[in-house]
């Protein structure tokens, strides 16, 4: 795995929840976990992230938005475009300003569109893919649509 943010490959300061974990700081939890441990997560005052599948409607986890520091949207296959609309909805409708990360089946050739709908970090399969994704972010110097308001 390699993480791209701000057009660079960076060290990931986040990790996914594991069974042995003691502290919840900078942990990305599942929707189930959030739903079952809401109070504990909020009271811990530690930054945490939420992993959601791209096909989820934003309504189903909108109450978490004011508590989380990161939303990781998972693409089951790269051709499933629902995650794009989800990110756009989080940015435009819910005014979510923190990190939105693309995870799962993410291809370098999608970096440009992903960044334009509001993703600010992309998890890619390898360093090679990540380097390519950074190149691909610069594929276009112009575009027609106006972009997400909060970018």
């Amino acid at each position: 795995m390699a993480l791209v943010k701000n057009k660079q490959i960076i060290q990931d300061s986040w990790h996914h929840l594991t069974a042995e974990q003691t502290s919840l700081a900078n942990t990305i939890v599942s929707l189930d976990y959030w739903q079952q441990n809401k109070q504990a997560l909020i009271l811990s005052k530690q930054p945490f992230g939420l992993k959601v599948s791209g096909d989820l409607p934003a309504e189903s986890f909108s109450e978490a938005l004011k508590h989380v520091s990161l939303i990781a949207i998972e693409f089951p296959v790269f051709s499933d475009g629902r995650g794009y609309s989800l990110a756009k909805t989080l940015r435009d409708k819910y005014r979510f300003t923190k990190e939105i990360r693309a995870i799962g089946d993410v291809l370098p050739d999608q970096a440009f569109y992903l960044s334009r709908v509001g993703f600010d970090s992309l998890e890619l399969k390898s360093d090679l893919s990540a380097k390519l994704a950074i190149e691909k972010l610069a594929d276009f110097s112009v575009y027609y649509q106006k972009d997400s308001v909060s970018q």
Binding site: S79, G81, R82, Y113, F140, V142
Partner: protein, 547 residues
């Protein structure tokens, strides 16, 4: 006609380079076939039976003579000296080499053309009325809005991985010449009681295995709000459209399964948040695009020369009657260039013909031509005094077959000859029909025959007055016929004639159908009217009674 500014040109140029790199990586093995597939598709490149097929957009059917010459040159340099015009006003090359496609795209970019989103699960080329701007019955010229929607939908970051392809057509006239009712979204230009411009919005139409006529989702959306409304429909579709089965992934299925009212409520909920926001079109933005489509300075002229020309030649008279139409300006006519001559498959145009058309466009039609949904071309601004010499030159190059709107002016997909999805051939059937009916086509009258080589329906068979669909029966080619469909403002699906017909019997069956119509018609009653009056039974009796 719209002309690119620096932004448009940069975007298309950068797209060429992006695709060049993707092709290179695919050929190097850095991209798998599965990964490359959606990338090449979003650039119009299919893999067909013999070779790749490259589809080029002709935005709402408008072409300059310069672009025509470029298409000709590409057909010579990279293909086999011909191109094929499609039912969505686009053009296809049937024999390009995959590794040369980036060079073809660079050539196209030099004349402001591209293949962006001409296939793939994204918003396709915006189509429209080929008579936009020149027909007398127009409420408003749809072309500026086509261009605005073209720009908005091009390289759209959010809507490029939709459940399935998405087609939008716009008509500015009550007479629908863009088959808007069988598009994912059909837009009908309208004015409200105060004269404000807007659109009636239809949703969920489509052909293919489940043909559906689009339904009205909104009676009037003001021009300022059209993009935010389209955005709301697309987002609703992108979120809820089915992705589990590619045959159920079009928006028509979503609308049907959700119910129009519930779907409309979802769209409205989405729109509530975005209406009046960043996608709102201001008057200045609309005016800027409208400036590209102001009517030319028509000269004042009369039909004196034409009238004397008409006296001269019977063949010219016949062509004039069949292949030209009224123009809103006196002294001008709209001319159809028939791509349905007996000499080649429907919609095909050769290198020589393209060159000629470009020259004639410069000479007689303000340097422009248009493609139509029925796979012909049109010159929309020809002075009537020029018609005779235009006809002579078209005639010499087999572009003046006087058959527009008749049975030999059929729509036909490439079928088994090119398409890997086909069940049956369509080009040879088309040839047979042309041979059989060439002499009697005009006398038979207005009759729309449409033919597809498989259920995908690229040849629009479901809305043909006579529809022919290729089906596979244990490896043999059979044909399912339908009657009474319509592609007009009252679009209708045809009724099934009966069991499928063997290939050898298709032509004689069509003959039986035509004869039955002729036998029952009153005076010069059209096929559609006769069919409505007598129903399908007499046709069934004739066709199956003898078999």
């Amino acid at each position: 006609m719209y002309l690119y500014n620096e932004l448009d040109q940069t975007l298309v140029n950068e797209r060429v380079e992006q695709y060049r790199d993707q092709t290179k990586r695919f050929l190097n093995g850095e991209l798998t076939e599965e990964q490359f597939r959606p990338l090449r598709l979003m650039n119009g490149l299919y893999i067909q039976t013999h070779a790749p097929m490259l589809r080029i957009n002709i935005p709402y059917g408008l072409l300059s003579s310069k672009q025509l010459r470029m298409l000709a040159q590409i057909s010579r340099q990279y293909d086999k000296d011909y191109v094929h015009f499609t039912t969505r006003q686009n053009v296809q090359f049937n024999w390009p080499a995959l590794e040369q496609v980036p060079d073809i795209l660079a050539d196209l970019a030099s004349v402001q053309m591209h293949s962006i989103q001409s296939s793939g699960n994204c918003i396709r080329n915006i189509t429209s009325d080929p008579l936009a701007g020149v027909c007398a019955d127009e409420i408003e010229d749809p072309r500026p809005y086509c261009e605005i929607i073209r720009q908005w939908s091009t390289l759209h970051p959010e809507f490029s991985y939709l459940p399935r392809k998405f087609k939008i057509a716009i008509s500015g006239s009550p007479q629908d010449r863009a088959v808007t009712q069988v598009h994912d979204i059909g837009l009908h230009m309208k004015k409200d009681t105060d004269g404000n411009i807007g659109f009636e919005v239809l949703v969920g139409g489509g052909l293919g295995r489940t043909p559906v006529i689009g339904q009205t989702i909104a009676d009037f959306i003001a021009e300022a709000d059209i993009l935010s409304y389209l955005d709301a429909i697309l987002r609703t579709y992108n979120r809820y459209g089915r992705r589990d089965n590619k045959y159920k992934a079009r928006i028509k299925i979503l609308v049907r399964e959700t119910g129009l009212e519930a779907f409309k409520a979802q769209v409205d909920a989405e729109w509530k948040d975005s209406k009046g926001g960043e996608l709102t079109l201001d008057a200045a933005a609309i005016e800027r695009v409208k400036a590209f489509f102001i009517a030319p300075n028509y000269s004042v002229s009369d039909d004196k020369q034409l009238n004397s020309d008409l006296e001269k030649s019977g063949a010219f008279r016949q062509w004039f009657k069949q292949n030209t139409r009224e123009h809103k300006q006196t002294g001008y006519r709209v001319v159809s260039l028939s791509l349905k001559s007996p000499h080649r498959p429907p919609g095909d145009v050769t290198f020589d013909q393209l060159q000629l058309i470009a020259n004639l466009a410069d000479q007689y039609n303000l340097g422009q031509a248009r493609s139509t949904h029925d796979q012909n071309l049109a010159f929309t601004d020809v002075k009537t005094e020029d018609l005779f010499s235009l006809w002579q030159q078209l005639n010499e190059h087999q572009l003046a077959t006087a058959n527009i709107g008749t049975i030999t002016d059929m729509i036909c997909c490439p079928g088994l000859d090119f398409c890997s999805l086909a069940n049956a051939s369509s080009i040879d059937i088309a040839q047979g029909i042309t041979e059989t009916f060439t002499d009697s086509a005009i006398e038979t009258g207005s009759l729309k025959l449409k033919m597809s080589g498989c259920m995908n329906g690229c040849g629009h068979h479901s809305i043909g007055e006579i529809g022919i669909l290729g089906v596979d029966k244990k490896g043999e080619q059979w044909y399912q016929l339908t009657l009474g469909g319509s592609d007009t403002h009252e679009t209708k699906l045809g009724e099934r004639l009966g069991r499928a017909i063997a290939k050898d019997d298709v032509i004689s069956t069509v003959k039986d159908i035509v004869n039955t119509y002729k036998q029952h018609r009153n005076d010069d009653e059209k096929f559609a009217t006769t069919f409505k009056r007598i129903g399908i039974q007499p046709f069934k009796d004739k066709v199956y009674g003898t078999r």
